[in-house]
Subunit: 504 residues, 2 copies
């Protein structure tokens, strides 16, 4: 009971504690759910499972809107049980991916800063239930989120009903590190008063209409740990290229050793880059990103990063233990924000971020595919990469130059799907080197990309394509008949290599 | 002399009056010029001609940075005389287009809000001469622009030297309608304090270092008039579809009859849409756009538009006479801004603009090509369409469903160049109807686009492609071997139609 009083400080809510099963029983076929959770952190862990259990006997389908990818295998489970009508704006689960690509349900792949606008302006289906993980509900009816914020604020404000999962496995020290800012409707909005990553502009929790809280469920379960892929030889080299580029920017007087607020997508290269910063001369760094992974905490520990703003904290099992058992040492150097604020074009442009995201493939003119394998199959989604790359001071894309032991070149004549156009891609980094494309016309970019970034195995083949294209002329020379021949060759012959060549 | 004193109010500058020829003589081979001018308005009219004349005897090449397209055939002349190394960020001249596509010089096609950031942060070549058209230079060394602002402010602040062209053919009543706001360097910036189109946030002219003013040239020449293409049967129908869509938005409670600040690209469809608004029930409209064309002044005259903010005023010959001879009646309902402010993501998103731009082609999933004919040949450039579509409340793209008497379908399986991705395209309008794509997954979009927007001549062929693609599966089904077959068919056979069909 002491725990209940600490966690549910509004006494009127004490009689709303229910089991996950009861809460799940309120959800009907065809409803729309707004779930907390962003890259496996701060997701709800009980009601979705109870709902999936119920669906075994009483099949139902729901729309599932989230912050980003969910942890606890919820996406997997919902896909397996065929419980989804529509899913947005991002996912990263293998089973769900399979369902999306089979056309079993609809997936809307959205810029992560955009979903909130559609909810707020009533473009999407009305949310029947917002289901949010929380540390506590305060006396004032404020819901204190846990390790992510995502779209929880806009979901709960616009939902008909709210279900709270109080997760007692999440440290209570998280209370106070959230900064909830509501921009208001478009057209009635004031400037967002944030000009540095450490600026606090909102309140510590999500103010909800407590009458809408239908039920409160208690859970005790940690976030799904992230799988950290240790830097390998190639990602270490990529990080070195990127750091070399940043040093050149300092030499040119365009950056100082404090760089500029850093954003990085998740994954092994980002991790390697941040590890690379540990041993660099850069100092007093700031992070303004979506997700904080292990490496940012290493940088905080080393005093390299002085402040980090994010939307979610996603850690490995080991790091989770060390961070959350010493969380008081981080509390004044961290802020969690809603994803529309962490990813807001206004703020990204104002602060002039250095943005580092991963490309799936890119082409000789610098267009980037972040989402579709061989042009058709969804991988995860565009996530925040578009919010950042378009508006950042430096839109940097990283990728290994080849995949599948050299059978795939990440650099192709024409990307099979475009997520980031030539207008938004400033710098490309592979393990071969980097290409600074700023201020270059398409024909100038080609040579830099092929020579600096493509794998030697594919350079000649890329040059041949370009030489043939050049005969046709144009601002962006192409041989349309052959533009996707690398992809179709891979589909037919299992390799993009046209000629017999030594395996890499 | 009276005129000189009125126009050059800083006495120190009186001895800097020179001929255009003398000013042009300072420009050397390899230099970079920053010219005023945006969509044929407010461009410099004497020094570029003198430079071209000089180049006949002493060939030279320069980089030419502008606001957008130039008037007075300067782009044509420079292209003809082979005087260009690099041109950015936009052009719209047939001769220049030919040179670009022949690879005679480099053209960097940029979001119009981005150029200023690259100048400010020293990413591009340093500007040797900023050459600006002005009404006057004030006592305080402020340069008062004429009918456009473009990038003039950032050019002059970062140029080594400045040349002013005082154009006495431009009405002095223009003084006071400019609002020059300097955001400052990224990372040291405050929020831009603008939340409505009529907000005045800056000063009336460009504050320059008068020591950098090398010379002042007097001219007396009107802007090149725009060629107004009167609404035809199809553009009138497109405007009606768009207005129907807006009415549906009002019914759904997402808009009021005041709509939201309107942005529109230039051209015949935009013109038709604005004409359509003349007879509509919408009222108290606001415009926040790049260019004001004739139709906006008709709407101001009719009291339909209460305020218009822009970066340039581009009028037909007739309208120019009527507007500038009665300019005092418009002065309190107009503001001209630098293009980074008229096109700023921060402001477009905050105000929630309704953005209407023209597509060259679009595909069955809603990706838009705004720039490249048959994937290779540059038309004009992306202009501000990306700044607006990405950040607007409604990113609307308009196009006629067919071109060249039906030999080209504007809706294809896969666009041959991507400027706007599926993530940024909300609504498509053709003369056939409109497709509201918001909240739809790719497979849901296909039917809407084909049925509502494609020309009947091509619907079956589009469906056949999609049915074949569906067999391959995926989030975005495609048959990569055939993705560009419509374009290659057109190149070989002069039509995108696969089967013998009646001419339209």
């Amino acid at each position: 009971m002491e725990s209940v009083c600490k966690r549910i400080r509004d006494q009127r809510l004490h009689d709303r504690i229910v089991s996950a099963e009861e809460a799940a029983s309120w959800i009907e076929d065809g409803m729309t759910l707004g779930l907390s959770g962003f890259t496996r952190a701060g997701d709800v862990k009980a009601v979705p499972f109870a709902l999936a259990k119920r669906a075994e006997e009483n099949p139902l389908k729901v729309n599932v809107f989230t912050g980003a990818s969910l942890g606890s295998d919820v996406d997997k489970l919902f896909a397996e049980k065929n419980m989804i009508n529509k899913r947005l704006p991002f996912q990263a689960d293998a089973t769900m991916r399979k369902g999306i690509n089979a056309g079993d349900f609809h997936f809307v792949d959205q810029h992560l800063s955009h979903t909130s606008e559609w909810i707020r302006s009533n473009v999407l289906d009305t949310i029947d239930f917002a289901i949010l993980e929380a540390i506590a509900v305060t006396e004032e009816g404020m819901v204190i989120p846990t390790t992510s914020i995502g779209n929880s604020m806009v979901f709960s404000q616009h939902a008909k009903n709210i279900i709270i999962e109080i997760n007692t496995a999440q440290t209570e020290l998280l209370e106070g590190i959230h900064d909830l800012y509501e921009p208001g409707p478009q057209g009635e909005r004031q400037p967002i008063p944030l000009s540095a990553p450490s600026d606090r502009i909102g309140v510590k929790g999500i103010q909800v209409d407590v009458d809408k809280i239908r039920g409160i469920v208690f859970t005790h379960q940690e976030d799904s740990p992230s799988t950290i892929i240790e830097p390998d030889e190639e990602t270490v080299v990529m990080a070195q290229h990127l750091i070399t580029f940043l040093r050149e920017e300092i030499k040119a007087g365009r950056l100082t050793e404090k760089l500029a607020p850093l954003q990085s997508g998740i994954g092994s290269v980002a991790n390697a880059v941040f590890h690379g910063l540990l041993d660099s001369e850069f100092t007093d760094l700031e992070v303004y990103s979506e997700v904080l992974q292990d490496a940012v905490f290493d940088l905080l520990d080393a005093g390299k990063v002085k402040f980090a703003s994010c939307c979610s904290i996603t850690l490995s099992s080991e790091k989770m233990k060390s961070v959350f058992s010493n969380f008081e040492t981080y509390r004044d150097r961290l802020l969690l924000r809603p994803q529309e604020i962490s990813n807001h074009p206004e703020l990204i442009r104002r602060m002039g971020l250095i943005s580092i995201n991963t490309a799936l493939e890119l082409d000789i003119y610098g267009n980037v595919n972040s989402t579709h394998v061989m042009g058709t199959k969804m991988m995860n989604g565009i996530g925040g990469s578009g919010d950042f790359a378009r508006n950042a001071r430096l839109g940097i894309f990283v990728t290994k130059s080849i995949a599948k032991d050299g059978k795939i070149s990440s650099i192709v004549p024409f990307v099979s799907h475009v997520d980031h156009t030539e207008h938004d891609v400033d710098v490309i980094v592979t393990e071969q080197g980097y290409a600074d494309l700023r201020g270059l016309a398409p024909r100038e970019r080609v040579q830099k990309i092929i020579e600096n970034c493509a794998h030697p195995l594919y350079r000649e083949q890329l040059n041949e394509y370009y030489q043939e294209a050049l005969k046709k002329g144009g601002q962006t020379p192409h041989v349309l008949e052959k533009a996707f021949s690398w992809h179709t060759n891979f589909e037919k012959n299992g390799t993009m290599l046209e000629k017999a060549a030594q395996p890499v």
